[in-house]
Amino acid sequence: MAKIPVQFTLNGAEKAEFIDGGTTLLNALRDKIGDTSPKGGCHQGTCGACSVIIDGELRLSCLTLAETCNGAAITTTSGLSQDGVLHPLQRAFLDAFATQCGFCTPGMIMAAKVLLDHTPDPSRDDVVEALSGNVCRCTGYEPIIQAVLTAARSNSQNAA
């Protein structure tokens, strides 16, 4: 099968791969590029564990074909901390006990980041709505919601 070249930036770094037609971005990131922070929970766009940010928008990488991402800027949870310092969302998830099994966590953080990028001072309802596409089967939603609200407050304090 003819391979398709694909080129994009991942967490700021240039990446280029040859992939099979039909390869999802999730599989390209995990199996080809080696970024396993997006998780495959359902491969049908229902659990949100594979969430990544493409050109500023929240996307399900299991339903996105890698070949459609040429030239895109892709962000994943593995790229959020800088020089060993956790991103405020990562810090807030840690402090708020917002992880249990951890499988949904990278996707949750992606969804929360897109929310805060667009809405720096969200209401609780905004947070609930923003996380509504992400399933936490451990059902630890309340600490997750609190973590996002805490991160938003710490961001606005830093900005002030």
């Binding site: 099979d20 995990r30 199996d31 080696g34 970024d35 396993t36 922070s37 997006p38 998780k39 495959g40 929970g41 359902c42 491969h43 049908q44 229902t46 659990c47 564990a49 994943t76 949870t77 593995s78 959020l80 901390s81 956790l86 969302l89 990562q90 810090r91 998830f93 840690l94 006990f97 992880t99 099994c101 951890g102 499988f103 949904c104 966590t105 990278p106 953080i109 399933v135 936490c136 089967r137 451990c138």
Partner: protein, 455 residues
Amino acid sequence: MELRKSYFADQRKDDLHEIGQPRPRSDSPGHVTGKTAYFADRNFPAMLHLKMVRSPHHHARIRSIDISEAEMHPGVVKILTAKDVPHNVYTILILIQIGPEDETVLADGKVRWKGEAVVAVLAETERAAHEAAAKVKVDYEVLPAVFDMEEALKPGAPVVNEYHGRNYYLYDSGECRKVRFGDVEAGFAGADHVLEQTYQSSPIEHAPTETTGCIVAPEGNDRFTCYTNTQAMFFTLDNASIILQMPGNRLHFVGGTVGGGFGGKVDVIVEPIAILGAKLTGRPVSFIYSREEEMQISSPRAAEKVVIKDGVMKDGRIVARKVTGYTDAGAYSRHSPYGAQKGAGHYPGPYTIPNVWIDTYCVYTNRTPSSAMRGFGVTIGDFALEVQMDKLARLIGMDPLEFRFINAYRDGDMKAHRQPTEGAALIECMQEASRAANWPVAEKFMAMSSYAKGA
């Protein structure tokens, strides 16, 4: 968080300085940075993908299996059937002498539930494995199936599992686990009221976000490393050793990080066949359930039926309790004989009742085999018991919480299965619940104690 030490102040002299203090989880930094290594985060060159051909029938005889067309499919490397599995008939709890071996790794001559594994296809890509699996031809003769526990126990019902020869698990105590304490019929005869109710539950799927699976890498020296999300590492290793007839020192299991389990990952299902595939091909093998398989194929919590008959006095004392519990194991035992047995010990509940009779049956039907899930064997029973307690309280016109105080077990009371009660704290929990829920009870109940004599 408030830690109230006053309840057992004269019993506990230990220093509880850690309890009540938040401590960071050791795994959280890995979770929030995406660095935690789940089994599927391993990738090996030349890794094969395993897809299972599954039974479309609830109960059928296999007349023939034709893999010739599937073998020719581009990308297919190996196709496994029952004859390839060294010790194909197994049961998980054989490790603790709970037999007989009653389940096939790959179906041999018969399928007993819809979704049962029949043929394993190993291919270069997931897609090739899927396509080839669709080309495996299995000729089935469909047999009558039974889905209801009471139907399964009737004479003349189709026999689900020939390794048992009957549709229930035969305990050393007979057709069910039994608890006999006092004289239950005399208790009913002397009771002011008798209430019999039936409670039923459906199977419940754990639905972990990470599906069941493993990745096996041959190490080149006839040893195999199995990266797995099993919740039962040593059970899985030992059962894999039995199924593969391979000494355990050739199997290296790596696990510990589970993307949600809830009891759904304690069966030994994916690892042995993936290791076999790696052994026979010399290549790494990935066997990961699809979401559909996770929901439909992995063991659920058993469906249960619980019949509770209680004799109660107007003053609130329960004087007799008779329970018949049925656990739907599905087609194979897995952990269900243990679950049903646990129920037998548990059914009196945390109450002291002088006359108790309990029978719990582990029943085979042509449903998906059930197994462990969060307190299996007792969770559904607790639902039934506590609903029954509310109904009994209503029957005699008593506050449901006060009714529980009257019957609560206390240290020194003999339980129906003849273990003396030790370390009971039900009364103290209910006192705290009474305050927290603003559900007041009479002062004499607030003065009770689980362990202080005379209180």
